[in-house]
Amino acid sequence: MEFNIYESSRDVFLDTVNTKDYIQLDRVSNIYQSLKDSITKPLKMILLYGKPGTGKSMFLTKLHDSLLSSHAAHLYSTPILDESEFFKTLAQDLYGMEYSGELNFTQFMKVVNNKELNGPVIPLILLDEAQLYSSSMMEKIRLLSDTRKVKFIIALHKTEKEDLIAKEHFQTRIWESIKLENASTTELMIYIQKKLMKANCLDTANMFSIKSINLIHKITDGNYRDTNKLMYTLFDIYLHYQQNNPNQINGSQVSNKIIEMSAIHTGLINA
């Protein structure tokens, strides 16, 4: 298939979490480093929080990937809401034990307490979207952490419920809590340009001046997910123009008009 710059640029911004798409951003790499450091510290739990679309899942996935070589680490991208199912998966991942029937918390605790650690490193469980776990489930996860035979890294949205969870269950247990934020204008510029350049879309990467980035930042507030949506639509519109009336577009500088059209289409602007 022929290479179409707008089509390729568009697909760069599909909302997927894939470690090969990971962009090194200064602030994020700092957090990343401190998180990696805290894994080797004798902390029981690590809480990673931030608004939806700030890159928590991406972060957790990247961490998981890079840990795998040195660590026993398991990522649960979607919460396992059934308790028995959750403990059975844990038993499988941590100890390679298969259970056919039910496995309740008491039974599983017994198993954990009887197991000795393989060396000095505590195995890691990374839980994404942890705000979906029930409070009683979170309490059990905390009790498991207290055994120091397994360590949890928990990512959750900054919601009222998350605040509640943080207060009720982790106040004294969570030793490290890390917040992810929306991108600044500079970070957004780096994000957009690097992403395009990674996919060999140099021409479209050069279309974004700081002025255009400012407008995009104004619309998305630097939220990565919203930016992805906007950029996807933007290049979709460019593709459409290219195929229908190519003289309407200028390939050297992204047009504010098309940025706004994309924002309207994705609902980021009310019009």
């Binding site: 979709d236 459409h240 123009y241 008009k257 706004e260 059209m261 309207i264 289409h265 019009a271």
Partner: protein, 274 residues
């Protein structure tokens, strides 16, 4: 699915709306400022009215004090003569410059017009019309009251060359105009910067008593303004209260170590400043 045409239209509407929003803000700002100017003018008209009363009272009390003041009032009257010739040709006033004595009875009346002429510079004619009626009635009263003191003045008045007077008059007009403005503003917001300005202006105009008063007022609002102490002391010297000026300056220097105050004190003590 993308509907480009629809999106283009919606984008255009969006842009239009945002322009309209800016436009509306602009219009509203203009309306507000017009309204504000109108209000301000309206206020100044009514306050200048009362101001003139105060000014007149002061003037009549001051006339007994110094000759300088008498000269001033004479100057005042001269301006008014001019203005009246422009505004409404009044034969009696134009008659002669030498035969001043004939004009004296109407002097006070003229002076009152002068203070109200302050208004003519600033105000819309509409507002002016409604106000003038009031003014006239007030003026009439005043002429009656102050006529007695007026006569004294008349006798003592030195006859000065007319040409020089004219030049001074022009300046005087403007300054008085300024002060009237500033006094109204000061009454509204009690800003010490304004009262200080008024004090300085009066000092320039050699109206030392007023300068003294406003320096004092400034000092009451904020006693840390060096310039208010300086004007205060200078006015005291001019009002022949040198001892008090020295005392005040010394007190202030003790407290602030102001070099300007020291300088002035030195000048007063050595008689450089009189």
């Amino acid at each position: 699915m993308l509907n480009i045409n629809d999106l283009e239209i919606r984008q255009k509407n969006y842009k239009l709306k945002s322009y309209i929003r800016y436009f509306m803000i602009f219009i509203i700002l203009i309306i507000i400022s017009i309204f504000a100017v109108f209000l301000f003018n309206y206020n100044s008209v009514s306050t200048v009215d009362t101001n003139t009363n105060i000014l007149k009272n002061k003037e009549s009390s001051l006339t007994q004090d110094t000759k300088i003041k008498k000269q001033e009032t004479a100057e005042h009257s001269n301006i008014i003569k001019k203005e009246i010739t422009i505004d409404k040709p009044q034969e009696e006033v134009i008659i002669t410059k030498e035969e001043k004595l004939k004009l004296f009875p109407s002097l006070d009346f003229i002076r009152k017009i002068q203070s109200s002429t302050l208004n003519y510079y600033e105000d819309n004619t509409n507002i002016q019309k409604s106000v003038t009626k009031k003014e006239i009635s007030i003026e009439k009263k005043k002429t009656i009251i102050s006529e007695a003191s007026e006569e004294k003045k008349v006798v003592e008045k030195p006859i000065l060359p007319i040409e020089t007077k004219n030049i001074i008059n022009i300046k005087r007009k403007n300054s008085n105009d300024d002060i009237g403005h500033v006094i109204t503003r000061f009454k509204v917001n009690n800003n010490p910067a304004l009262s200080l300005f008024i004090a300085k202006k009066y000092y320039q105009l050699k109206e030392y008593e007023n300068a003294y008063n406003y320096a004092l007022i400034t000092n009451e609002i904020n006693n840390n303004i060096e310039a208010s102490w300086i004007i205060f002391a200078k006015s005291l010297v001019k009002l022949k209260k040198k001892d008090m000026a020295i005392k005040t300056l010394k007190r202030y220097i003790n407290y602030s170590h102001s070099s300007q105050a020291k300088l002035l004190l030195n000048e007063i003590l050595t008689g450089k400043f009189k």
